[in-house]
C-alpha cells in the first residue's frame, strides 16, 4: 500500500526541492507584475497631477480682481434725488478720473483714460448712492473694478516689453496705472463678483453664479425624473418581468442606449420637446429632460446589477417565511440594493453635470446675463459656460475658464464623495 513508486508527480526528487527550484521564477513574475501595476498608477496620477497643475496655475488669479480707488464728487446736477436710477453715473466716474489727470483733454486720450476702469464702475457707484443718499453733494471714496486689461497687467499677464502696437495697453495708460499704483489707489481683492454674477461681455464683470444656478435647476429636473423612473424600470425588469424574448430585446436596447453619443439625445430633445411639445428653448426644464433620457440607461443598468447582487439567501429567507413577491422586493431586496442604486444615480448625475453636447442642441449655449430663478428661465450650465469662455478672445477669460473648470471639478468631487459617503452609511447599517 505504501508504495513510494506510486507517485502522482513523475520523475524523482522531493516535492519541496522542485517547488524551491521554481520559487525564484515565481517571485520574479510577481515582482514584475507589481512594478507594472505601480507604474500604471503612477502614470495616471502624474497626468491627473499635470491637469490640476495646469488648471490651477491658469485659473487661481481669477479669484482676485484688481480694484481702483476713485474720489467721486456726487454732483447734484447729475444726480436727481427723485430719480436715482436715471443719473449718468458713468459721467461721474469719468470726471473723477479727469480730476486726477486734468491735463488730458483730447477726445482719444480721454477715452483711453476712461478705459482704465470697468464699465461696471458706474453700477457700483449707483448701488453706493442708492444706499447712501445723504452723501449726494459730497465727494466720496469708492473702490471700483479695474478694466480687464489693467487687471491682466497687474497680474503680470501683459508683458511691458512688447511693443506698444501689439499691447492692449498703450504707454500712456501704463504711466497712469503706475501713477495710480504709486498713490496707493490700486489693490487686488477677492473676486466676489465671480461667484455672484452671471455672464458678461466684460471679463471683470463675468461670474459663474448664473451657470451654477442653471446647472442646479437642470440637475434637479434630471434627478427628480431619472431616479424614480430608472429605479422603477430596473426593479421591474430585474424582479418582475418575465424572462422572454421581449425582455431580452429591451435589455439589449437599454445597453445600446447607454452607448448612444450624447449629442443624439440633444437632437431627440430638439425634435420632441422643442418642436413637437413646443417647450421653450434654453431652459433647465428641457435640459433636464434631455439629460434624463441620457442618464436613464446608466441608472437602469447600475440599478439592475445592484439588485442582482442581493444575495439569493435573503430572497429565499423572505419567500420561505411567506412574503409575497412585492413584499420581498420592498422589504428585503430594495433596502439592500439601494446604496448601489444611489451610487449609480450619483454617477449618472455627475455625468449629466459635465455634459455639454446635448444642451447645445436645445439652445442652452446662449449668452445669458441674468441669473435664472426657475426651471423655465433661460439659462446656461457650467460646462457650457466653460465652453463659451474658452471661446472668447480676451486674455482675462482664459483665467475665468480655468476657474470655472475648478468650480465644476469641485462639484463633481462633492458628488462623488457623497456617493462614497452614502455607501458607507448604508453598509454600516447592515
Amino acid at each position: 500500500m505504501n508504495n513510494l513508486n506510486k507517485r502522482a508527480v513523475p520523475g524523482n526528487g522531493r516535492t519541496i526541492d522542485i517547488v524551491k527550484k521554481g520559487l525564484n521564477k515565481r517571485y520574479r513574475k510577481e515582482r514584475r507584475f507589481r512594478v507594472f501595476g505601480w507604474a500604471a498608477v503612477m502614470i495616471s496620477l502624474g497626468f491627473l497631477f499635470l491637469l490640476f497643475i495646469s488648471i490651477i496655475s491658469n485659473g487661481y488669479t481669477a479669484f482676485q480682481q484688481t480694484m481702483v480707488r476713485l474720489d467721486v464728487y456726487l454732483d447734484t446736477d447729475v444726480i436727481d434725488k427723485d430719480d436715482l436710477a436715471g443719473a449718468d453715473y458713468a459721467k461721474l466716474i469719468h470726471e473723477a478720473l479727469l480730476s486726477v489727470y486734468p491735463d488730458v483733454t483730447k477726445y482719444n486720450e480721454k477715452r483711453k483714460l476712461y478705459e482704465l476702469v470697468s464699465t461696471g464702475a458706474a453700477y457700483r457707484l449707483r448701488d453706493f448712492v442708492a444706499k447712501n443718499r445723504h452723501a449726494i453733494g459730497t465727494t466720496i471714496q469708492i473702490w471700483v473694478p479695474a478694466d480687464d486689461d489693467v487687471d491682466m497687467l497687474i497680474k503680470g499677464h501683459i508683458d511691458r516689453k512688447t511693443p506698444q502696437s501689439r499691447r492692449r495697453i498703450n504707454d500712456r495708460q501704463l504711466a497712469w496705472v503706475d501713477h495710480l499704483i504709486s498713490r496707493g489707489q490700486v489693490k487686488k481683492v477677492f473676486n466676489m463678483t465671480f461667484f455672484t454674477s452671471g455672464d458678461s461681455r466684460e471679463p471683470e464683470l463675468a461670474g459663474i453664479w448664473g451657470a451654477v444656478c442653471g446647472s442646479f435647476y437642470t440637475l434637479i429636473v434630471t434627478l427628480v425624473l431619472s431616479f424614480p423612473i430608472g429605479g422603477a424600470a430596473a426593479v421591474y425588469l430585474e424582479e418582475f418581468a418575465p424572462k422572454n424574448r421581449w425582455t431580452d430585446i429591451i435589455e439589449v436596447n437599454i445597453n445600446n442606449l447607454a452607448a448612444v453619443p450624447s449629442i443624439v439625445y440633444g437632437l431627440l430633445g430638439l425634435a420632441v420637446f422643442l418642436n413637437f411639445f413646443g417647450l421653450p428653448r434654453s431652459v433647465p426644464l428641457v435640459g433636464g429632460l434631455v439629460l434624463t433620457l441620457m442618464t436613464l440607461p446608466t441608472i437602469i443598468i447600475v440599478g439592475r446589477s445592484a439588485l442582482k447582487a442581493v444575495s439569493p439567501s435573503i430572497r429565499e429567507a423572505g419567500l420561505s417565511i411567506g412574503a409575497s413577491k412585492v413584499q420581498l422586493v420592498a422589504h428585503h431586496v430594495l433596502p439592500q440594493a439601494l446604496p448601489g442604486m444611489l451610487t449609480g444615480t450619483i454617477i449618472g448625475m455627475a455625468q449629466a453635470l459635465g455634459e455639454t453636447a446635448p444642451l447645445l442642441m436645445i439652445g442652452m449655449v446662449a449668452f445669458i446675463v441674468d441669473i435664472p430663478a426657475g426651471f423655465t428661465d433661460p439659462s446656461t450650465v457650467l460646462p457650457v459656460q466653460i465652453y463659451l469662455w474658452a471661446d472668447s478672445p480676451e486674455r482675462a477669460f482664459l483665467e475665468k475658464t480655468s476657474a470655472a473648470i475648478m468650480v465644476l471639478l469641485l462639484f463633481l468631487m462633492i458628488m462623488n464623495a457623497t456617493a462614497v459617503f452614502l455607501r458607507r452609511i448604508f453598509e454600516k447599517r447592515q
Partner: protein, 285 residues
Amino acid sequence: MNQEQTTGHPHIRPGRSPLVERTERATVGQTTVEDPRISCKNVAVYYDAKKAISNINLDIGRNEVIAMIGPSGCGKSTFLRCLNRMNDTIEGCTVSGQIFMDGKNIYDSDVDVVPLRAQVGMVFQKPNPFPKSIYDNIAYGARIHGLVQNRDETDELVVGSLKRAGLWGEVKDRLKMSGTSLSGGQQQRLCIARAIAVNPEVILMDEPCSSLDPIATAIIEELIDELKQDYTIVIVTHSMQQASRISHRTAYFYQGDLVEVGSTDQVFLNPLHQLTEDYITGRFE
C-alpha cells in the same frame, strides 16, 4: 482499500432475508402512514431537461420527524423544496406529481404559495437571517401575515419565539442588534425562531447543522427534539448519527430515487435494500 470491497456481492447476514438488489430502484419499506400530514404521489422534478428526482411516493405523518439521508446530489434538497414550493423560484425547474396537504394538492393552479409557506416553514443549510435587528427578524413574518396587532403582541411573540429557540438568554439585551452579528449557531437558532414565530404546522430543515460546530449542533438537536411535540419536521441531514438521534422515520435517497423508507431503527439496523446498507455501513461507492 477499495480493492477489498468489490461490488456485486450481496452481503447476506445470517438469519435474514436477502437484501433488495442494487439495480432495483422501486421504493422499499413503509411509504404510507395512517392519516398523513403530507402525502406525495409520483413526484418528479426536472431542472430544464435534467431529472433530479422521480417517482417519489411518500407520506409524512403528523408530529413526526422524518429524516432524509443520502449521498450529496441525490435530490434531498430538491424534494424538500417541493413541499413548500420553493422550487417555483428556480428558473427552469418543473415539478410533476401531486403533494396533498389537508386533502388539497398544493401544486393545483389555484393554490396560493403565500399561505402555503406560512403553513410550511423552512430553515436553510446556511443561516440566512435578514440584515435587520434580531427583533425585526422574528417579528417580520408575523407582521406581514397580520398575526400580531400591536406592539405588546409583537413583543410577546418575539420573546416567546426566542425562548422556544433557546436563544433568549443570549440575546435578550441586544434585540436591536443586527441578526447578522450573531455567531453561526445563534444565527441558525434565530432562523428557527423566525420560522416558528409564524406558527407553521410543518418545518422543513435542509442540513441545518452542516455549517455549525458540534456544540451548536447539539443545541439545535435538542431544540428539534423539543419542537417535535408541536410540529411536523422534515429534516435533511448528511449525518446518520443525527438522523438516528432525532428522527422517527428515515428516507434514503439515491441518485434521484427514494430507495427505502422505514422507521429509523429499522433503516439503520435492518436495512431492506442493498443500497441503503452500502450507505449506512460506509461502503458507498
